[in-house]
């Protein structure tokens, strides 16, 4: 059972057994394939689970039951939908830019994959552990907007174009807030490496140890990351009551499913970043001095902690989505440039001051 708590034992043993049988180049290739397959499975599972969760959660918010027919309590509903989407005809506009039109969903998926690669799921369960991991993630996760812009541009549909342009303006703006709110914590940790950030929270999560600035940074991160994933009150790029379906109006079948999946994958990624940076990643919940309590908390495997925290973040994002009306584009930019950014900058100053004086826990 030890491997449940420290995955490096497992990965190490796989690495050693491979090294014993193949030469180093092949080992690297095989390991890449293994990791790739693992991520693909995770991706598919996430899609299945999160789509189902979204449906159920939204249903309960709305006093409904949600999908109930396919499988026990509708658990196989997403699977049925995947089959339906696979069988659908991939349609394309006559004047659409065929190459870009087909490329766009893959770019979005690739961006999601790249971001996911450096997430620390548990101790030792991390594909890439850069020393600039946080920077890398925030850089890569904003690549998805290229896919959205391409999709909107190449669809030959004005609704798509408007949606894509909206999304461009939105993501470029909110990337700032996401980055700055993450930086607030980086000031505390002094490192951009995700594994180090997680390790530094062994004695308490940053959201508790960083005083009020950390809480403010967390709230800003929550808002900005919701905007970055094009969800909830910030789904202007889709805006089904204004732009029918925004940038993916013209997509059908599996290509539409890619967009759909990427939305949930992005949601998972930003939640995972938030959980890692603010809520201690896979670190259990510890209270200083309570040894018994801490031991019980330690008994829960880190991977459960990680997914629990991510689940909490995702639930918050769903809660936003199913409560608030959508913002208008100028309101969206006002919110960013007039409220989030100044508050964020001030916040980072206060945090830096705190760290300088050594007032944080």
């Amino acid at each position: 059972m030890n491997w449940l708590y420290d995955f490096s034992i497992l990965t190490q043993s796989i690495h050693e057994s491979l090294s014993g049988n193949f030469e180093s180049g092949t080992v690297l290739l095989l390991e890449m394939i293994l990791a790739g397959v693992a991520f693909m499975i995770l991706f598919a599972l996430l899609g299945l689970v999160l789509v189902y969760a979204e449906r159920k959660v939204s249903a309960f918010f709305q006093q409904r039951l949600g999908p109930m027919r396919v499988g026990f309590w509708g658990t196989a509903q997403t699977l049925a939908d995947v089959i339906k989407l696979l069988m659908k005809e991939p349609l394309m506009n006559k004047n659409a830019d065929k190459f870009l039109f087909n490329l766009a969903p893959y770019i979005i998926m690739i961006a999601a994959f790249m971001a996911m690669a450096s997430l620390p799921f548990a101790k030792g369960l991390q594909a890439l552990d850069f020393d600039i991991g946080l920077l890398y993630i925030s850089a890569v996760s904003s690549l998805g907007v290229v896919g959205i812009l391409l999709a909107g541009w190449s669809s030959d549909n004005k609704y798509s174009l408007i949606g894509a342009l909206r999304s461009g303006a939105q993501i470029i703006s909110y990337e700032l807030s996401v980055g700055l709110s993450l930086l607030t914590i980086v000031v505390l940790t002094g490192s951009l490496q995700l594994s180090v950030i997680v390790e530094s929270q062994a004695n308490g999560w940053w959201i508790f140890r960083g005083h009020i600035p950390a809480v403010i940074a967390f709230i800003i991160f929550l808002i900005a990351s919701t905007a970055e994933t094009n969800r909830g009150p910030f789904d202007l790029a889709e805006a089904e009551s204004e732009l029918t379906a925004g940038f993916h109006t013209e997509y059908s079948g599996m290509k539409f499913a890619f967009f759909f999946l990427a939305e949930f994958a992005n949601m998972f990624i930003v939640s995972a970043i938030g959980a890692t940076v603010f809520l201690g990643g896979w670190m259990p919940f510890h209270i200083g001095g309570w040894e018994g309590f801490n031991n019980v908390m330690d008994y829960i495997p880190p991977i459960v902690w990680f997914f629990g925290k991510v689940g909490f973040m995702i639930f918050m994002m769903m809660w936003f989505r199913w409560t608030f009306p959508r913002l208008r584009i100028d309101q969206l930019l006002t919110l960013e440039w007039k409220y989030l950014l100044p508050v964020n900058l001030m916040n980072i100053l206060v945090m830096a001051f705190l760290v300088l004086m050594g007032w944080h826990f």
Partner: protein, 373 residues
């Protein structure tokens, strides 16, 4: 070099978008051709007639009892009030005095209809602005009213409960109890509407100052109902030309002066409170008596013309009957509130963004069959 720079200069060019006939926020088959400059709307041109059924022409061949049921299909959300307009016109022409009981029952059901229409509007309004949850809450409460209708009138939507001279049936024994239950229930739920949407900062900012309509414009465009009253146009037919039992109940005409989307929104919410207030005054005082006065099987109006207006959930609904003494009218015109309200859309939406247009449309509360007829 200069030429190249000139070529590269960004010129803004208007482009067109077809909003509808199939579009999530047009609530039916309305087609709006938008001239856009980026996201700014320069012109809105409504194209109507996708569900034009020529009801007026059909009426020229129908008997007056049959006309009543056609009005159900126009503004299906305030069908009972539409029915009443025709019935009142016929009763006026025949100089029939309907019993008190009929008047009170009709008034109660009128107000229930208005409530259910506003509930649906509230839900759809939230959905247009992206808050999908409000849609289900609106429908949840509306369901109780449709149950009342189903039990008493026999149908949930197109009730056809009015006939010239009275009502189709007497009210169901459960009617009073159910209505009282509903009022008690809805009084608890209506503040929830406010916490969910009205007080929400996003919602407020999206509505405030959008789609302004001045009082003069409202009168000139003939914009009536809550939409007109939000601009300060005192146009409540229930107050100015009381029909049925409206002269014996006490209620306020909701007026606002701002004339923007939020004013219209608040007017409708306030109207729901007023409607409940009216029902409360009447529900315990339904007088005993007949539920209809006997009419001939074939109603023939005398020669002449009548115009009867009533206040539907959307505004002033008028029936203009010209009779030549036959069993069918010579000419029958429905003045539908949505038609006039829609004419002001272009005026209100110019200079707004696409998202604002959606908000304006949902505060106008258009029902497309009402416009197309």
């Amino acid at each position: 070099m200069e030429e190249i720079i000139h070529d590269q200069e960004l010129e803004s060019k208007e482009y067109f978008i077809n909003m509808g006939p199939q579009h999530p926020s047009t609530h039916g088959v309305l087609r709006l051709v938008l001239s856009l400059d980026g996201e700014i709307i320069r012109k809105v041109e409504p194209h109507l007639g996708y569900i034009h059924r020529s009801i007026e022409k059909m009426c020229e061949h129908d008997s007056y009892q049959q006309i009543v049921h056609l009005t159900d299909r126009m503004d299906y959300l305030s069908c009972h009030i539409n029915n009443e307009a025709v019935c009142l016109a016929v009763e006026q022409a025949l100089e029939l005095e309907v019993p008190d009981r009929v008047k009170v029952i009709r008034t109660i059901i009128d107000e229930l209809t208005r409530l259910s229409s506003h509930q649906l509007w509230w839900g759809v309004m939230g959905m247009d602005l992206g808050a999908i949850t409000s849609f289900l809450y609106g429908f949840r409460d509306r369901e109780m009213i449709t149950d009342i209708f189903e039990e008493t009138c026999g149908a949930r939507l197109t009730m056809n409960y009015n006939i010239p001279g009275g009502l189709f049936f007497d009210i169901h024994p459960n009617f009073q109890k159910r209505t009282k239950d509903f009022i008690a229930y809805f009084k608890k739920k209506l503040p929830e509407y406010d916490t969910l949407l009205s007080n929400n900062v996003i919602f407020k900012q999206r509505m405030d100052g959008i789609g302004k309509l001045s009082k003069e414009d409202a009168i000139s465009f003939g914009v009536t109902g809550p939409t007109g009253r939000a601009s300060g146009f005192s146009c409540d037919v229930r107050k100015h030309h009381p029909y049925m039992a409206y002269d014996r109940v006490e209620f306020k005409e909701i007026l606002d002066t701002k004339g923007d989307c939020f004013a219209r929104y608040k007017c409708r919410i306030a109207e729901m409170w007023e409607s409940m207030h009216i029902i409360e005054q009447l529900i315990d005082n339904i007088p005993e008596g007949d539920y209809k006065v006997p009419t001939k099987a074939v109603i023939k109006l005398p020669k002449g013309e009548w115009y009867q207006k009533v206040e539907t959930a959307r505004g002033e609904f008028g029936v203009y009957i010209i009779s030549e003494g036959q069993r069918s009218p010579y000419r029958l015109k429905f003045r539908s509130p949505g038609f006039s309200n829609l004419s002001a859309l272009d005026h209100m939406a110019r200079g707004c963004k696409i998202a604002d247009l959606v908000a304006i449309m949902s505060t106008l509360d258009l029902v497309i069959p009402d416009i197309d007829r």
